[in-house]
Symmetry: C2
Subunit: 362 residues, 2 copies
């Protein structure tokens, strides 16, 4: 496209946004109906009144079947996650910011700069329109903080009883500007294991928000976009080998993936693992080890042992990493296993979970 | 990454695929449980036994949080779609090939070469494992035909009664190699409107597959990837202005989007619209105009009127376009409306649908 045509096209798009704003399309219905998923008039109003309003940007506003993006890097990272968390709203966040931060974080721990998101909604007939508006605003706010744009989307509506309010899928696209090779299969004996802050806040918050436990703990989800923290770390510490965000299955699951993929042992010192008192207490009542409880704004870092102090210093100077802590190290033996040196002086194997004690945590 | 390190990394990945194959992980459970969505052992087995087995490729096999891709074009197209079709299996296809073809087609009508897909599954607890395997194989087959790779994915499991078997989201990434500007806002009076084949096959097939109508028509879904057809067309006919795949809401909805976005009238001659006899008959019984019924392997083309014959010739020489037909033209007046010259000699407005006569068609 020549510059003139590009400018003309952009002006047309801006004009259209302006027209849409001046029309101020409004959803008259208090609840989402099957018609909102029909592709017809109701869908168009939903898109203009809710989605364009929340995510306003010139790429999305073209409302074409595919968003056109500039690829300003030779390598890209691409990821997807569906969110089925229950309840939809909880202390510290909701399904909307979770859906943005979750995918942003998957890109960040891949070493990518998060750039673009897609958003696919599956909504249950009868879902309150006000809740949908609240969720999309929360997504828009989280996207603004993370520096990403929601550039393409889709909405389906299913009959009452065929979903649970609202499910959201986000796919994310990021650009890779570094030659830094990261991978759970890249860690070596002698490396250190660091977490960026207290673990288990998100999972425990969700369990408590369900009201199934009669506890009133002062804890909220840690949902946050960690790309800034990760960016600082990768820029300053060349010895970072692997990064993961410990969501479903928690830190224990991430460490097991690392142990298996690299054929090493991961040794964790229980008394160094940062866990808030409230989280520890609720975990005990639930009968679950906090190591298995989901975080949504933390990162597990494996770094060359000689650079662990540097990594901690860099992470602690970022608002999301002030409580970063070294919790263990990589050893030769036994390969493929995660060992925990317990606070009581014993050692036990931390295996992958067999069941799911915390369903629909994200 | 240097070439040596890239080769080494690739070898490691191939080794891992080989190890995974020789281990032959198998899902012992006949039905999907919440544990398959936990992120733990059951999830890992599900990924290895079902998803890696179906979609085997070196990018996915790394099982990192983000897939690393090479961006070999300066411009990309990005799109997403969720699929909630009911029933999941129907004559001519299933939710799996639909989920691949639907997103491939959104990329194709954006003028992009479809390259990579993500796949996000939301599965209802108790869903038969065999059905999931069948769906993923169908996705893999469709991806192979379309020349795309499923490079990243996610699985969530929700409790019984919180979904309807299986929902799938796919996001797609394509590369744009042409300066050809396509857009529903780019059409002009004098352009011709072409459809690539008979319309409504998919929607009617789904309605009949539900068994709510006591009809036994010999019709099957037209689900197919149209990127080849579109590629031929764009390569040969510079005057193509807009492309859309008429899914939800059918051809009528696409034409309304074009009329509104370009501020033109679209005039359709009813007796030129290709509709199979079985589809026409079932539509009459359902009380719906075939113009509103979803296709999943068709494309609506608006092309410079002077190049319409060229477009038809090119399309008819592709297997998916043998029945391509000109069905109307773009006029000045009345702007924003779609007019149908009926077979009986009258003229009526074809508006956007207000309700949803065909819910969960895709």
């Amino acid at each position: 496209m020549t510059t003139d045509r590009a400018a003309e096209a952009e002006q047309q798009v801006l004009d259209r946004i302006e027209r849409a704003r001046s029309r101020k399309p409004r959803l008259r219905e208090d609840r989402i109906t099957l018609a909102h998923g029909s592709g017809g008039k109701a869908t168009q109003t939903l898109i203009e009144a809710v989605f364009l309003e929340a995510f306003r940007n010139d790429v999305l506003a073209r409302l074409e079947d595919g968003a056109e993006l500039a690829a300003d890097a030779a390598r890209l990272a691409f990821t997807t996650d569906s969110f089925v968390v229950s309840p939809l709203f909880f202390p510290g966040g909701d399904i909307g910011d979770l859906a943005v931060n979750g995918t942003v974080n998957d890109l960040a721990v891949s070493g990518a700069t998060p750039r673009y998101l897609s958003a696919g909604f599956i909504i249950e007939e009868g879902f309150p329109t006000a809740d949908l508006v609240r969720i999309t605003r929360s997504m828009a706010d989280a996207a603004a903080v993370a520096g990403v744009r929601v550039v393409t989307g889709d909405t389906k509506v299913v009959q009452k009883g065929k979903a649970d309010g609202c499910y959201i899928n986000t796919a994310g696209l990021g650009t890779l500007h570094t030659d830094h090779r990261l991978g759970v299969d890249s860690v070596r004996p002698g490396d250190a294991v660091v977490v960026s802050g207290p673990i288990g806040d998100h999972g425990i918050t969700i369990m408590l928000a369900r009201g199934e436990l009669d506890i009133d703990a002062d804890v909220e989800s840690d949902t946050a976009a960690v790309h800034g923290l990760v960016g600082d770390l990768l820029a300053a510490v060349p010895g970072v080998r692997a990064l993961r965000d410990p969501t479903r299955g928690g830190v224990a699951t991430v460490l097991n993936e690392i142990a298996r993929a690299s054929g090493v042992a991961v040794v964790v010192d229980e008394d160094t693992v940062p866990v808030r008192e409230e989280v520890r207490g609720a975990s005990e009542l639930l009968g679950i080890d906090p190591l298995y409880v989901a975080c949504e704004g933390r990162v597990v870092v494996v770094v060359d042992g000689a650079q662990a102090a540097d990594a901690l210093r860099v992470m602690r100077s970022h608002p999301l990493g002030v409580d970063a802590t070294a919790i263990g190290r990589i050893a030769d033996d036994p390969p493929g296993l995660v060992l925990l040196n317990t606070a009581l002086g014993g050692t036990r194997i931390v295996d992958l979970l067999v069941g799911d004690p915390l369903p629909r945590i994200c």
